[in-house]
Subunit: 267 residues, 2 copies
Amino acid sequence: MTLKLDKVNRGPHLSTLVASSISREIAQGRLKPGDQLPTEQALATTFGVSRNVVREAIARLRSEGRIWSQQGRGAFVTDANNPTVLTIDYEALQRADSFRSLFELRGILEVQAAALAARRRSEADLAAMGEALAGMRAAPYGSVAWLRSDLEFHRTVAEATRNSYMGQFLVFVSERVRESILAAGNQQKSDDMARITLGEHERIFAAIRNGDVEGAQAAMRDHLAGAALRVGLHDGEAAEVAVPAKEVASPVRHSRLRKAVRARAGG
Amino acid sequence: MTLKLDKVNRGPHLSTLVASSISREIAQGRLKPGDQLPTEQALATTFGVSRNVVREAIARLRSEGRIWSQQGRGAFVTDANNPTVLTIDYEALQRADSFRSLFELRGILEVQAAALAARRRSEADLAAMGEALAGMRAAPYGSVAWLRSDLEFHRTVAEATRNSYMGQFLVFVSERVRESILAAGNQQKSDDMARITLGEHERIFAAIRNGDVEGAQAAMRDHLAGAALRVGLHDGEAAEVAVPAKEVASPVRHSRLRKAVRARAGG
DNA sequence: CTTGTAGTGTTATCATACAACCCTGATTAA
DNA sequence: TTAATCAGGGTTGTATGATAACACTACAAG
């Protein structure tokens, strides 16, 4: 039987929680550019953690360019709110809700990419897709070669959109998703899956080849729904991502973190 | 006259130096994927710093996805070594085709964000959107206040998707687009435009409020089509554009760590 | 008005201790 | 023999306190 082990999802480090919390304060505007953060000591007591943890969190935010600090003065929110680089926090992805969000974003990009590809694909694109499919057929399901061909197929679809940024973003997001899946490592393989997955890809390919925009979207959507199941997400696109945002305007919102901390300490 | 003094470039933090040094070991292959790093204590003594500094460095590398650590075992070099940051070359955006591509990507994200928002928005979201709209009504078209409210509206829509990555990506893309538009500076203002633009936003808002998914998508699509016209793009959805984007990696350069550490130790 | 100086608050770093956890190997029970 | 249990050492995660380096302010002295 298959053992549906819940990935021992040990909560991320405290410093991660603190960093996320501060990040959120900034993102939601409660900390504006130029504002000075509370002192490390103050943050430590508010969060109920040691100053050391706060420092690790700040070190991360600093490296991400979100804040900037100077000895003897304090830490400040970076003025330029237009980061020139986009990063995805690796640890945050270990959390199920984050993973689901990224998976959803990937889905949106893939589906629309399929639509664009159906409109704009060239003969060369189709040839490349066919080659990738052949690679998948030849390799055993789940093998390195199989994964490479899988990735290659999606890459060629992205390329067929004739939108370079689409490709860039898609590859970026997909890589993060793939990493996270591999890290979890809770995927079972079977011959059935190989057949099913291959079929999904072939339908996408056929629709794109025929210039069938809606068909390509639908096929890609099916593929992603299947992929979601295969990695243990009970189909996305429902409302389970929707955390009831009962956020009341409060000066600072750390109560959840505190609770998390308590829970860790208690358990 | 003005003195033009060079900003006193105080050396970076020790944790930064340590992180860079470890990073370089990885980049240059002396630490291969899967390898275990020396213990924090060992690193501390070799670098001549406290374990605390080493931990801050490791926290950064961990958040960048370069290494991965587990309590009781140790820290290891991450398997995947692909880029963890996404950058958009500013100069490339000056080219019309690149700009069009990014605009198209933004459109895809915005339209799907509107759809998700229509499904998941909370009362608080609606209130925030309404506030942003009020801000737009109050400010003169094209003014700083107007732009801020405009941005704020789109941000609240992104937030209402309950998908944090959606917001991150959208803000990132929109900022690049906005910069590019401002740089071009070829936009004319008129009262008509104010009225039209405001109307577009209000239709988006109404659809999201009513939970009308298709309506929200359509309204957002209209809005973007209008925006495209206003910035001089003859409606998107054309088929010309290709071009590989320039990928930029950021090498890090420092041979100073050891020296700096020595200096500290010696002095 | 300028300069020196003490005082206070903050970050940067160090040092130490303990808790939580993994791994290994010995010991014990079946 | 085999499996389970337990003890010990090693490692990371967190807490705590202390010290050094630096920025800012106020005030006194010139």
